[in-house]
């Protein structure tokens, strides 16, 4: 599978020359399967640019289909939806898998509908999409199929709520997406069930919103530091660690330092053989 980063920023888009290298769009990652299937993870502002690029192919003709995996419904993970050109083309089909309150797909759809409320969006309703937009609730722990690939999900602590992490498998290779995760207890060892979920992943994309010094005042926000990410990556013996969901106030130079510090932490904690890949808008990664 081929992974591409369309948005790597957390919380709110951060335009400006100081974010040119890593990018200022919020979370959106695409996974292209070996057979050409498309899985999209999260619908931050990066989704607009992914959508525009898709319009040159089958999606522009109303013959496209994709699965969308949604970690949670905070604004920075759904804001791109109303600007995703393929949903306005009749014939395209999307299956959206996300966290339904009480396991209810209807309630998840209602949350997405709330984003299109006329007070906030000129679209006024999901009903004004032309594409098929089929919303389904993920049951954490139960595998489902997206574009022919096996996907499992796990609910992670994220501040006062939870966010889903996804593990996608293809021919024995695996990609784990774990953004917006934050362990509530400082300096606690990585939780055993998270380690089990990430175990031996070829690529673990993990939340690295903060530096440890930020986390002292922001733990309740439900994000990880690069130390948290390095510790769990080493414990799970993953092959590659992708840093992701950078704080909106971090400049490119800040992210450079964060990545270097993460590298050093891996080296010092038994993860020297783990390759570190900083997520940058436009970059691709092949598994």
């Amino acid at each position: 599978m081929k992974i591409r980063f369309w948005g790597v920023r957390g919380s709110i888009p951060a335009p400006g020359p100081e974010t040119n290298r890593y990018g200022g769009n919020t979370s959106c990652v695409s996974v292209t399967t070996a057979t050409g299937g498309l899985i999209i993870i999260d619908m931050g502002t990066g989704l607009m640019h992914l959508g525009n690029s898709l319009m040159a192919g089958a999606f522009g003709k109303g013959a496209g289909r994709a699965s969308i995996l949604l970690s949670h419904t905070h604004w920075d993970h759904i804001q791109g939806l109303g600007f995703f050109a393929p949903v306005f083309i009749s014939g395209n089909q999307f299956t959206v898998w996300g966290p339904g309150p009480y396991g209810s797909a209807g309630m998840l759809e209602e949350i997405l509908e709330g984003q299109m409320d006329p007070n906030f969006s000129p679209l006024q309703s999901l009903k004004n999409f032309s594409a098929v937009f089929d919303v389904r609730a993920v049951e954490p722990g139960t595998a489902f199929e997206a574009e022919g690939l096996r996907v499992t999900a796990r609910a992670h602590p994220h501040g006062a709520t939870t966010a889903l992490a996804f593990r996608i498998e293809e021919h024995g290779r695996s990609f784990v997406y774990a953004s917006d995760v934050g362990q509530p207890v400082p300096d606690a060892p990585p939780p055993a069930d998270a380690i089990a979920f990430y175990r031996d992943a070829d690529v673990l994309l993990h939340d690295t919103t903060y530096r440890p010094s930020d986390q002292e005042t922001r733990r309740n926000r439900g994000f990880s530091t690069y130390e948290d990410a390095a510790a769990v990556a080493a414990a799970a013996k993953v092959k590659r660690l992708v840093t992701f969901h950078y704080d909106q106030d971090y400049t490119d130079d800040d992210v450079d330092q964060l990545v270097a510090a993460c590298r050093a932490t891996l080296d010092a904690h038994g993860g020297a053989d783990i390759e570190i890949v900083p997520a940058r808008e436009g970059d691709e990664l092949e598994i």
């Binding site: 709110i12 335009p15 040119n20 990018g23 439900g222």
Partner: protein, 309 residues
């Protein structure tokens, strides 16, 4: 007064190299009367940086006051609010003004800032927030500033504001379609209407009244900030989206007798070079037509001093 642009983009923020010079943040303009608290127009993502800069002043000590005039609550005009640092400091006072809706204004903003969309509810923001509902045509004062407003032609309805203070005036007119082809309001318009058929008389009359209201609001304004998201050709494809183009803005500025016309609410995918080109093209138009106003284009960081500074 000083007018400073913190976000000049429409629809959605657009980070990236192509927007470095004009800026990728959505609508936010700071009007700063002489020796008085800021009057902020719209709370797009530009508000985040404005908030940071305000924290260097009285807001950092919990002694700041600000007013925010909201044109309408579409996402690109309110997204910065939960990232406005002064709201998280007890003692600060923020007055928010917007058009009256069926739903109470505070309820609209609460819906933006709550689970499952945002982790921090309005009630957890420690500053004193007061909501003021406006009906178009309302006139009120903020300190020495006189504020007035009028209705615009936009889906779900937006309003334009005029601020008069320090012997000068600024008018903020975003988001609006021209007042010629389609009447936009609370009803969803699914498809682009035909632009070549005459409008029903009642619709034409309502649009003409709206246009007269805008011209009256902008009468002799020192600075007229106007929605020019579209080119004329783009507008013809999407007249129901509620945005205008430079030719229409020029006609409004001329009839109102504005002194400076500022192109604003740039399309998200418009690059800096394209924005340069649009400005150059329309400066030629303004010269050829012997218009009496100056034409500028808004960019992040642009600051204009008007009247007593």
């Amino acid at each position: 007064m000083k007018v400073r642009f913190w976000g000049v983009r429409g629809s959605i923020p657009v980070p990236g190299r192509a927007t470095n010079r004009y800026g990728g943040n959505t609508s936010c303009v700071e009007v700063r009367p002489k020796n008085a608290p800021p009057i902020i127009i719209d709370a797009g993502t530009g508000l985040r940086r404005l908030g940071k800069s305000l924290m260097e002043e009285a807001f950092g000590e919990g002694k700041g006051k600000a007013s925010i005039l909201i044109s309408h609550t579409h996402w690109d005009h309110v997204q910065g609010l939960p990232f406005f640092s002064p709201l998280y400091r007890a003692g600060n006072e923020v007055d928010i003004f917007a058009r009256q809706r069926d739903l109470h204004l505070e309820a609209v903003f609460s819906a933006q800032n709550r689970a499952p969309y945002f982790p921090v509810p309005l009630t957890a923001m420690e500053a004193e927030m007061r909501f003021h509902e406006l009906i178009e045509g309302a006139r009120f004062e903020i300190g020495n500033a006189k504020v007035s407003c009028t209705r615009l032609n936009h889906p779900w309805i937006a309003i334009a504001y005029r601020v008069d203070v320090d012997g000068a005036s600024v008018v903020y007119c975003s988001d609006t379609a021209p007042f010629t082809d389609v009447l936009l309001g609370e009803k969803f318009v699914h498809r682009a209407p035909s632009l070549d058929e005459p409008l029903p008389a009642d619709v034409a009359a309502e649009l003409a009244t709206m246009r007269a209201g805008v011209i009256a609001l902008a009468k002799d304004a020192d600075l007229l900030i106007y929605d020019t998201q579209f080119s004329k050709a783009e507008y013809r494809q999407r007249p129901h989206w509620g945005h205008s183009h430079p030719d229409d803005a020029i006609a409004i500025a001329r009839e109102a007798g504005a002194k400076i016309l500022c192109l604003f609410h740039h399309a998200p995918l418009r690059s800096d070079d394209e924005n340069d080109q649009i400005l150059a093209t329309y400066r030629d138009v303004v010269t050829a037509q012997h218009e009496k106003f100056d034409l500028i284009s808004a960019y992040e960081g642009l600051e204009i001093t008007l009247g007593d500074a």
